[in-house]
Structures are given as C-alpha cells and as structure tokens.
Amino acid sequence: MPIELRTITIEPLRNNYDHLEKRFGHKPASRYQEASYDIQPVENLHYRPTWDPDQTLYDPTLSRIRMRDWYDLKDPRQLYYGSYTQARARQQDTEEANFEFVESNGLVMLMTDALRQQALDLLVPLRHVAWGADQNNMMVCGYGYGTTFKQPCVFYALDQLGIAQYLSRLGLLLGGQDALVAGKQAWMEAPAWQDMRRYVEDVMAVRDPVEVFVAQDVVLDGLLYPLVYERLVDDLLAVQGGTAVSMLTQFMTRWGAETRRWSDSVVKTMAAESAENRAVLEEWITQWGQRAVAALAPLARPVAVDTTDALMTEQIAAFAGRAAKAGVTIKLEH
C-alpha cells in the first residue's frame, strides 16, 4: 500500500505571474526568470530627470543600439542575486584558501626579487583599471534598459571591486604598502600605463550605456583577462617561479572566462537583432579594440619581452575569432 506523506494535495490556481506566463507559457518559471523579467518600470513615468531633462527615467534611446525587446539579452549563467552570491562565496573561499596557502608557506619568499617586482609592476596598477571597470558597469546598470541586461552589470561592477581588492591584497603581500604607492604612481605617470589610463577615463566619459559595456566588458576586459591572467601570469610568470602569483590571481582567471560567456552572448544577440546594430557594434569594437591593443602591449612587454608581438597577434586573433562567432567582423592591427 503506498503511503501518502503529504497531508493534502492542492491544485494551484496558476503556475506563475502573468508576465511570465505571457513570455514562457503556463509552466512554473525558474527563479532566474522570476527575479529578472519585466521588473523594471516601463510606462507612465512621472517626472523628467533634473540631471538631464532630455532623458526619460528609463530611456532605451540613450544607446545607439536598438532592441525590440531588451529582455532578449539574457544571461546564459542565469545569475540572480541568490545564485550570484552563492557562486562568488564559493570562489571567494577558494581564493581565501589560496592567499592563506601562499602566506603560510612563505611562497612569496621563494620568488626572486626581480620576479616579484615584475608581478607588482604588472598587477598592482590594474587595481585602478578594475575600479574604473566597477564605475563603468554601475553606469550600464544605472542607465541601461531591461533587467536581464543590466543585472549582470551590477554583479560585474562589484566583482571588479572584489578584484581590485584582491589585487591590493596581492600588492600588500608581495611588496607591502610601498607597492601600492608605487603602483599608483606608475598608473598616474609611467609612460607604459598612460594609454591604459586614458582608455579607462575616456570610457568613463561615454554616456551611451551599451557603448560603455562594449568598450569596457567586451573589448578591454575581453582582451585584458586572457592576456594578463592566462598568458602573462599563469604561463610566463608561473614557469619562472611565480606559481604563487598565479594562485593569487586564480579568481580573476576563472572569473574572466565565466563573464566572457555572458558578454559574448550579449553581443551576439544584439548583432543578430539588426544590420544597424551589427554596424554600430563593429564600429565600437574596432575603434575601442584598436586602442585597447595599443594600451595593453606596453604592459605585456616587461614580462613577455621578445614574445610580446607574437602574444599580441595571438590574442587579437582569439578576440576577433570570438567576435566573429558573435556575428561581428572586426580587424585589429598590432
């Protein structure tokens, strides 16, 4: 005889909220869908902004990119707040364990001064790049349209704050407070960093939220993360005895790979929407891409030395390949 554990079975009146049934039919929706779709106000906005009366409070025309439905831009990772913090807490645990391991085993002492200096020169000023990326993504989240597009950007922004903090801790661990001072000085004054700083400041001056997303997340981070964390740190520094550094940047390596899946998919959907969108994306990715390549090469040179040019060519090809998969043809020079 079967045993009924539930006290009663009640037939629900409906499976979900009206707006989700309209989009996805009468089946129960996922937590991601419930948390994201249609939750931004759309109509009957009350007042014009005093900070810019030409705009409406939620204004899809701030961008040159046009979408019939901005909710087409979904996040393949399906992150909403709950799943986002769970994922980052796990990664944070690993990263914390890595810091702990490097510190308690004195791994930093095993590196040569020269190697340690190389790592500091490359990585410490990047904490300012990360802070720029944080602000740029807050801009996209604040002024973009449609929650499925904007929500990943607030996650991205705070991730970049986390990364800036890991890079600061890395600097403190490898070179103490002086390393942070030196890193900031390089960021402000060293010729090798000036194209990069100009890039970041120029992106911060852009007020088209999708262009900011493209210039920062797609282009700059799309080139920077594979180049710096996968090639310069994990390959080049690691083989010279810098495994410790590679452990301390593991969060960034994995995070870069994870977020590229999202940003690539956004570009793909936008490009597939219309020829006009594709043309705008091509223009942005080419222009910003060219500048990003020029800004990154001098940072790679002290670590990659003779192989810098080959490395840049390889990275450009990989980047253009990803863009092509997303439906955007670009050609960058090095």
Binding site: R48, T50, W51, D52, P53
Partner: protein, 116 residues
C-alpha cells in the same frame, strides 16, 4: 521657487483641458459627509448648466448617503477658492466661471446623519 536642473526644464501638465475631448474636470466635496472618503472627481462639458451637472454628474454618486435625497440645491452653501460662492443653477459651468480642475465645496447645514 523654481526647480534646479542642469538644463531648461519645462513640461506640460499631463491633465490640461485639451486632453478631455471638450469636457473639463470638476472636483466636488460634500462638507461633513465623510462616508465618502475623498472629494469626487467629476467630468462635464463646460456648456452644461450647473443644475444639469448636479443632476447628472453629482447626484448619482452621492445617492448612497442617507442625506442625499434631502439635499435642496437652492439652499446649499457653496465655497470656491476659499470664498463663499453663489452659482446660478440655470447657467453653464463656464458662465459660472468654473474652470477646468475647479474645486467646489458644498455644505448642507442640518444634514449630518452619519458624520455629525
């Protein structure tokens, strides 16, 4: 006082009279009759006579109050813009000077069955 904004800031009201297809809004408040939680918003053509307006737009909605049937419109005390007001029942709203979004309060002394 004027708004502080980064650029010229001037937008039309969302409920100006041209949105009402020839009609206008009139707000009506029955003094000391708080069974009706708030003043009413009514709508009528400015050419309607005041008496006709009371009959068609106001009487049906105040009928729920036990005092409604006892109201004698000729004895009602009217207030407009804080001052006593004597509307002519046979003249149009317009000719009574009642503009779009005018607020009129009427008191019926002696009638206070529920909210004494």
């Amino acid at each position: 006082m004027a708004i502080i904004a980064r650029k010229p800031y001037d937008f039309p009201p969302a409920d100006s009279v041209e949105h009402y297809h020839g009609d206008q809004l009139i707000y009506m408040c029955w003094g000391h009759h708080l069974m009706f939680a708030a003043p009413f918003m009514t709508m009528a053509s400015p050419k309607t006579s005041f008496g006709e307006f009371l009959k068609t737009a106001l009487e049906p909605i105040i009928a729920l109050d036990p005092d409604a049937a006892k109201v004698d419109w000729t004895k009602v005390e009217w207030t407009r813009r804080g001052k006593a007001f004597k509307p002519a029942l046979d003249k149009s709203l317009q000719d009574n000077g009642i503009v779009h979004k005018e607020y009129l309060r009427f008191d019926t002394p002696g009638l206070n069955t529920v909210c004494g």
